[in-house]
Amino acid sequence: MSIVETTLIFVGIPAAVFLLVAALVFGGAAARTPRYRPGGAWQFEPVWYLPHPEHSQPASSASPDGAHQALPGAAGRALPGQAAEVALASGGASGEW
């Protein structure tokens, strides 16, 4: 084989494989959303998540949304408008990192 052929086969092919793997590793979607690092700035708007509404009704209490239209799921439950005591924040934990 000539020198060019030798170089292409024994250097070029491994280099091509190396570059392909590197592109797959580093070029992925992770580059688009920056990963959170502690101590870095948090530039997003605050978000507040609640559970999916369908199954989050408590088993025992009345529906809290008395002001909205009649709720189909509440027919068999306790009377709406029953005075339920409002929970006060009394416990939990804090942490820092």
Partner: protein, 163 residues
Amino acid sequence: MQSGSTASALDVDSDHAGSGTLDNYDPNRRSKDLTTRRDSQTGPDRPFKPAQLARIDEALTLASRETGLLFSVYVGDLGSASRATAEAMFGKLAARHPAPVLLAVSPAQRRLEIVTGGESARRIPNRVASLAALAMRGSFSSGDLTGGIVTGLRQLADAAGVA
């Protein structure tokens, strides 16, 4: 994961934490009403990618469904008095549900607050909440916000037991 279903995200004004659209929360709203909101909840200006949001949604819904408590996750600024802010937000939740649990995470201040009250405080003792906070801190320190939130939700839900 059901297609199109995702947690209801309430955008909160960062100056007045807790003054967001909690009034629009209707526990009996059907899942199809949420499909149009999914597009607005992921993207470059949102803190969680779709897969991460799906994990958080699943953990949140599962925890709430199994325990009967209302778990809620807030990720954003908590101000300098983080505990007071978190308790004020808890108050908004408590007006809508008898036993909420709030997990508030502030990546900017690097603080997390778990707030329980009433029924949820009886079922989740403070030492259990401290253990959950410890686990969450470990995840957050290594940059894994989603994993920390999901871990905290699962620990608290396991401790609270089935409704």
